[in-house]
Amino acid sequence: MDIGLAGQYVLNGLMLGIIYAMVAVGFTLFFGVLDIIKFSHGDVLTVGAFTALAAYAGVTALGLQSPWLILGVIALAAIAGTAVLGALIARFLIMPMRGAPPINVLLLTLMLGTALRESVRLFYPNGSNPKMFPRLLPGGAANFGRFTLRYDSVLIFVAGVAVIVGVSLLINRSKLGLAIRAVAQDAETARVMGIDLEAVVLFTFALGSALAALAGVMNGMYYSEINFNMGLLLGLIGFSAAIIGGLGNIYGAILGGFLFAALQTIGAVLLPVSSAYKDVFAFAAVIVLMAWRPTGLIAEKSSERV
């Protein structure tokens, strides 16, 4: 295989990795503050992408021309819409389940995901068909032999890195981030420090959901298409990524995101039969990884009192 093709695979892997990492960070944030898996996260991503699409229809109807302005408006709409959705889910569905067995919460969010997905399919106009996602980024590409570098991909990748760096700065440097980390370690002591637990939880869910929305928009721009089902697989991959990284650890989630993308890419390149097996290979590798490190690569905090 020549360098150009290899480069193409690496680029492709990085694009997927950044999107997966953004989804996985959400999973790990939710797990951090409430010790729960919010499986509906992938479908919140779908809602985000469709919100952006709806906003696009709205702003073009209003006659907005500038692609950058449009992009800004629809991204904001997606972020705002899903942030509110995420906070509402936390407040009315997940907080009331505190103290319930973790598996019940997982089931609840699995079902919530189904409900969101079905709602998009049923209630978005013609929602069961794939939708074209508008091309708002400059087209064009640079060619190096068999290696094509699309400019919009570069922009998407840079935006993804910027968002992730931003989130990790927020978590690691800001006072609110400090509160989130404190709640993640020991919610009760965090309350004793004067932290308003509910406010922190709601903010975290809003933040994670906004990340998902951005990932959804980026995904739409990368493939120029979205559909009601996109969140299911993306959510599952994000969940896997968060788990193989080690739940509750933001760097683990990022690592897991890129690792999963790498597994898929390796599967596509190396499998002798057909690249169609790449997802099979990636999920099988995840299962093997779980057998080897049952709580992920960067182990989760855990202790049981007897």
């Binding site: 400090l178 980390r181 404190a182 009760e188 309350r191 004793v192 420090m193």
Partner: protein
């Protein structure tokens, strides 16, 4: 009236059973009030009730003239109460500086910086280790972090839950002298302890808790002589050696 806490006829507990039955006590401003009792006497539940973590079923808790009923923990903290919890409860995966910053969570950055400087003055050791993860420190150092974190809130009332638990005698001694200095800063202290002699040596007034009830109270001098105190720890009928 700054920092006066009154617990009035409080019943509190978990799962339908009361751990505290009809507990009443007062922590006078600017003084060290202690709660003595053996394991399982309800001391920790009392602290939780005051902090709103296990709200009382009945009875009132009044701080500075305000009834704390119905307030969430962060609102109670805002009223001027802070706590150094049992077992220290430092955030082990956060640095010393971050732990201290959390102690003054409700204060602004500027104020927090000033207070942090003051805490570093009391515990120079913490200043040396500001960037270290707390989990990698010794038990004694973690105790300093926990106390420092409690001071960061600049509270009117500080609840201290078993500061000597699991510490070597040397650190216990040091801790008690620090508590003395805290009181000298004008902070009301409610100290929960099993270590009777050292506690009574620094406390002004004390209550003895046994199986969720106040069985004795008095000045430190009175309690030193009190038979109930001995009984709470050594049962009936045993005289000191």
């Amino acid at each position: 009236m700054s920092g006066r806490l009154a617990v009035e006829n409080v019943f509190a507990g978990y799962d339908r059973t009361d751990v505290l039955t009809d507990v009443s006590l007062v922590a006078e401003p600017g003084r060290i009030t202690c709660i003595l009792g053996s394991n399982g006497s309800g001391k920790s539940t009392l602290i939780r009730a005051i902090l709103g973590l296990t709200p009382p079923r009945t009875g009132r808790i009044v701080f500075n003239g305000h009834d704390l009923a119905g307030r969430d923990t962060h609102q109670i903290i805002r009223a001027g109460i802070a706590c150094i919890p049992e077992g220290r409860k430092v955030f082990s995966r956060l640095t010393v500086a971050e732990n201290l910053r959390l102690g003054a969570y409700q204060a602004g950055n500027e104020v927090a910086r000033e207070r942090m400087a003051r805490v570093y003055g009391i515990f120079p050791r913490l200043a040396e280790r500001a960037g270290q993860f707390t989990g990698t420190m010794s038990g004694g150092e973690q105790a300093m972090v926990s106390i420092g974190r409690g001071l960061m809130a600049a509270p009117k009332l500080l609840l201290i839950d078993e500061p000597s638990l699991g510490l070597s005698p040397l650190f216990v001694k040091e801790n008690f002298s620090v508590i003395r200095r805290i009181q000298e800063l004008g902070i009301t202290v409610l100290l929960v302890e099993q270590n009777v002699r050292q506690t009574l040596a620094i406390a002004h007034y004390g209550y003895v808790l046994m199986q969720g009830r106040v069985v004795a109270s008095g000045t430190a001098a009175e309690l030193v002589e009190n038979e109930e105190v001995r009984q709470a720890y050594f049962g009936d009928g045993v005289r000191p050696a």
